[in-house]
C-alpha cells in the first residue's frame, strides 16, 4: 500500500543512501497500535516531512528512531545502527529537538548550549566558538547572556535548533518545530532548516500538522493517519496518488448562463462529468446588470481549460474567472483525514 519514491532531487545527488530505514515497525500501547507496520526509508540529504493530525503516531515513530521508547516489533535502522541496541552511537549522530523543547531556565542560552556540547564531549574552546557561531546563525546573539526563562516561544525553538546543531549531527529530527511561533518566525525557521540541509548536507526529518509549512520546504512528505503511513512521496506525486483517475477540475465563473451553453460544455470531448451549476447573486457593483453569475465545475480527462473558456466566449456569455484546480496538500490532507485512511 505504501509507495516509496526515492526519485527526489536530493537523493539522486547523494547516491540515494538510505539513512533511516524503518520496516514493519509497530508500537502498541495496551493493545491499541500507535504505529502499525510502518515501512519508511529516508535518503541522505533529504528533507522529509511527517504529516498527520495529533495522535497519529508521529512522535512515537520519532521516539523509536532515537531509542527513547522500544518498538513492539519491527526494525529500525538509523545510520545503519539499531537505536535500541546501540543508543549512544545513534544519539551521537542524530540531533533531536522534542516538541515544546525545554531548557534549564535559570541558566543562560550560552550555558545551555555549552552544557549540551560538554555532554557530547566537545572540548570547551571549540564548543564556545561553535556555540557563539550558532547563536549568531539562529539570530540569538543578542540574547546569549539572557536566562532562558525569559525567552519567548520562538526564541526557545531557535535555541533548540542551535542545541541540535552543536553536536555536528548527520540527521536532525524536529518534532513540531513550528508549533506556536508567529508566521514570520515560522518563515525564518523554515528558511534556516532548508539552508542547513542544503549547505551542510544534513538529513532533516520534521513532523508537523501544518501542511503549508511542510509543503514549502520538504522534498518528500509522508501522510500519517492512525499509526499508518497512508501515502508518501513529493507533493506532486501525492496529488497523483490522490487523484486516482487523473482528472483535472476546471472551474468557471460565467454570467449569462444558458442551457445551450451547458450542453455545449458537456459536448466538449474529454469532459467526464459536469457539476451542478451553482447560481450566485452578482456582486453588488454589478447588480445593475441584473445578471446572475454561475459557478460551475467540470471534471476533465486532461487539461481542457482553454476549450472550456472558448466554448463560453463563443456562446456569447461573459467569463469572469477560470481556474484549473490543482490539488495542494490541503486537499490531500482533507481527503485522507476525512476518508479516515480508507484510501
Amino acid at each position: 500500500m505504501v509507495m516509496v519514491h526515492p526519485e527526489t532531487q536530493a537523493a539522486t545527488a547523494e547516491a540515494a543512501l538510505p539513512i533511516i530505514e524503518l520496516s514493519r515497525l509497530t508500537k502498541r500501547y495496551d493493545g491499541h497500535a500507535a504505529v502499525n507496520e510502518l515501512d519508511l526509508t529516508i535518503a541522505k540529504g533529504e528533507i522529509f516531512g511527517l504529516l498527520g493530525p495529533n495522535g497519529a503516531g508521529k512522535t512515537t515513530t520519532i521516539l523509536m528512531m532515537l531509542g527513547l521508547t522500544e518498538p513492539t516489533s519491527g526494525r529500525v535502522r538509523v545510520c545503519g545502527l539499531d537505536p535500541t541496541r546501540q543508543p549512544l552511537q545513534v544519539k551521537r549522530r542524530v540531533g533531536y529537538m522534542p516538541d515544546d523543547v525545554g531548557f534549564y531556565e535559570d541558566r543562560t542560552a550560552l550555558d545551555n548550549l555549552l552544557f549540551t556540547a560538554r555532554l557530547n564531549r566537545i572540548a570547551s574552546e571549540p564548543a564556545r566558538r561553535k556555540a557563539l557561531e550558532l547563536l549568531e546563525r539562529v539570530g540569538l546573539s543578542g540574547a546569549l547572556d539572557k536566562k532562558v526563562g525569559a525567552f519567548s516561544r520562538g526564541m526557545r525553538q531557535r535555541l533548540g535548533i542551535a542545541d541540535v546543531l552543536i553536536k555536528h549531527p548527520e540527521v536532525i529530527v524536529l518534532d513540531e518545530p513550528t508549533l506556536g511561533i508567529d508566521p514570520e518566525g515560522v518563515r525564518e525557521l523554515l528558511q534556516l532548516i532548508r539552508d542547513l540541509s542544503r549547505l551542510e548536507g544534513l538529513t532533516v526529518l520534521l513532523s508537523s500538522h501544518h501542511l503549508h509549512q511542510v509543503q514549502q520546504i520538504c522534498d518528500r512528505v509522508g501522510l500519517f493517519v492512525r499509526g499508518e503511513l497512508i501515502a508518501s512521496g513529493d507533493v506532486k506525486s501525492l496529488a497523483e496518488q490522490l487523484d486516482d483517475d487523473r482528472a483535472v477540475t476546471v472551474e468557471l465563473e460565467v454570467s449569462g448562463w444558458s442551457e445551450e451553453l451547458g450542453e455545449r460544455l458537456a459536448g466538449i470531448p474529454g469532459i467526464l462529468s459536469f457539476g451542478v451549476p451553482e447560481r450566485r447573486n452578482a456582486a453588488p457593483d454589478e447588480a445593475s446588470s441584473g445578471e446572475e453569475t454561475v459557478r460551475i465545475q467540470l471534471r476533465c480527462e486532461r487539461d481542457l481549460t482553454t476549450d472550456a473558456a472558448r466554448a463560453v466566449i463563443d456562446s456569447g456569455a461573459s467569463l469572469h474567472a477560470v481556474s484549473r484546480k490543482q490539488y495542494g496538500l490541503d486537499d490531500i490532507y482533507h481527503r485522507y483525514f476525512e476518508g479516515g485512511g480508507s484510501a
Binding site: T59, L63, L66, L68, T69, E70, T84, R85, P87, L88, Q89, K91, R92, R93, V94, G95, Y96, M97, P98, D99, D100, V101, G102, F103, Y104, E105, D106, F115, T116, R118, L119, N120, R121, I122, A123, S124, P126, G160, D163, K167, H168, D175
Partner: protein, 352 residues
C-alpha cells in the same frame, strides 16, 4: 530489548572506554570526543551540584540544619560542664559526648542528624527526574549520547556528594567549636570515630535520597513524590517506634515465663524495630560514638559474667554495628535497583 541492554550495559561501557583509548582522534570529524574532556557522567554531576548549591531550597535546608546543630552543641557543652563534675567514669571519651550529650533543653547532634538528615535527602531528590520531565529537558538530555543509568547515577552522585560535604562540614564544625569551648583535645581514635559516624550519616541520608529519587521516577508530579517521601519519613521517625511499642506490649510474655521465651520475644521485637532505617542508624551511631556499648541485643547475666566494664576498641565497635551498616546500604541499593528498573524502560516523551 532494553532489558538486555541494561544487563550488558556495564560491560559495554567498559568496552567502549577501551575502544576510545584505542582511537582518540581517528573519527574527529564525526565524534569530537576529545581527550581531556570530562565524561558526560561527571558533566551532569558538576551541573547538578552547582544547581543544588545555588538553589533556595538548599539554602533554607542548610540554614535549618546548621541552626539545629549549633543549638545542639550549646546543649552538649552545658551538659558536659555540669556532667564532668558529677560523673567521672567516662572521661576517657569525653570528646565524643559533644555529639551524644544534652542537658535536656535541646536534642543531641545525632538526634538532629537522624531526624533532619532524611528531610535533606528527600528535599534533594524528590523532584530529580520528574521536574526534568515537566520542564521538557529530560527528552533533550536523553537524546544526547549518555546512558540512561548514567543520568540517574549522576543525579544521585551529585546529591550524595553535597550531603557528604554538608554533614562533614557540620561535624567538623561541632568538633572545632567543642575544642574551643571545652578545651579538651580529642584522641586520634575519637577523631576516627567521628569521621566514621559522619560516613554512616551520609549512607543514611543517601538512603532517603535514593528513596525520594525512586518516587520522583515513579510519580509524574513533584508534589506527589515529595509527599510520599515525607510520609514515609514521618512514619519511620515518629510512628514506627510507637507502633512497635504497642506490638511489644501486646505480645509480651508474662514476666514469670521462661528465660528463653523472654529472650525470643526481645529478639523478635529487635528484628521488627530494625526494619526501620532510623532505628538502624541510631544503633550504629550509638555504637560508634559510645564505646561503652558492648552489645546491640539483649545480654543475659551469664554472658556478662566475668566481663570487665571497659570501652570497646574501634575495630570491635565497627564489627558490632557492621550488620546494621550493611542493612542500610542494602536498603539504598534496593531503592536504586527499583529506580533503575523503572527508568530504563520508561518512555521519554516531552513534558508528559
Amino acid at each position: 530489548m532494553i532489558d538486555a541492554t541494561a544487563h550488558v550495559n556495564g560491560l559495554r561501557r567498559k568496552l567502549a572506554r577501551l575502544k576510545d583509548f584505542g582511537r582518540p582522534p581517528a573519527r574527529a570529524e564525526n565524534v569530537p570526543a576529545e581527550r581531556g574532556t570530562a565524561s558526560p557522567f561527571w558533566v551532569i554531576v558538576q551541573k547538578e551540584f552547582g544547581d543544588h548549591m545555588r538553589s533556595w531550597r538548599f539554602g533554607i535546608l542548610i540554614g535549618i540544619i546548621a541552626l539545629a546543630c549549633i543549638g545542639s552543641i550549646y546543649a552538649a557543652v552545658t551538659a558536659l560542664k555540669d556532667g564532668v563534675k558529677t560523673q567521672d567514669t567516662d572521661t576517657s571519651f569525653l570528646f565524643l559526648q559533644m555529639f551524644t550529650a544534652s542537658d535536656g533543653t535541646l536534642p543531641t547532634f545525632t538526634t538532629f542528624v537522624s531526624f533532619l538528615g532524611p528531610l535533606m535527602g528527600i528535599a534533594l531528590g524528590f523532584d530529580a527526574i520528574n521536574s526534568e520531565r515537566g520542564k521538557g529537558t529530560l527528552s533533550r538530555m536523553l537524546s544526547q549520547p549518555i546512558y540512561r543509568d548514567d543520568f540517574i547515577r549522576a543525579k544521585f552522585t551529585a546529591s550524595l556528594l553535597l550531603i557528604a560535604v554538608v554533614l562533614y562540614a557540620l561535624g567538623f564544625l561541632v568538633m572545632g567549636l567543642g575544642l574551643f569551648t571545652i578545651g579538651y583535645p580529642p584522641t586520634p581514635e575519637e577523631v576516627v570515630r567521628v569521621v566514621l559516624f559522619l560516613a554512616i550519616g551520609v549512607v543514611y541520608v543517601g538512603f532517603w535520597l535514593n528513596l525520594s529519587m525512586l518516587f520522583s521516577i515513579r510519580f509524574r508530579q513533584a508534589a506527589t513524590s515529595a509527599l510520599s517521601g515525607i510520609a514515609l519519613w514521618i512514619f519511620f521517625s515518629v510512628f514506627y517506634s510507637m507502633i512497635m511499642g504497642i506490638v511489644d506490649r501486646a505480645t509480651m510474655p508474662p514476666e514469670t515465663s521462661a528465660l528463653s521465651m523472654l529472650l525470643r520475644h526481645a529478639k523478635m521485637m529487635l528484628a521488627l524495630n530494625r526494619l526501620s532505617p532510623s532505628f538502624l542508624f541510631s544503633e550504629t551511631t550509638s555504637t560508634m560514638l559510645a564505646p561503652g556499648v558492648r552489645s546491640l541485643g539483649p545480654l543475659t547475666t551469664e554472658q556478662v559474667v566475668g566481663a570487665i566494664a571497659s570501652p570497646l576498641p574501634l575495630g570491635q565497635s565497627l564489627l558490632l554495628c557492621w550488620p546494621q551498616l550493611v542493612g542500610l546500604v542494602a536498603a539504598t541499593l534496593i531503592c536504586f535497583g527499583f529506580s533503575y528498573l523503572l527508568f530504563m524502560r520508561q518512555e521519554i516523551r516531552s513534558r508528559s
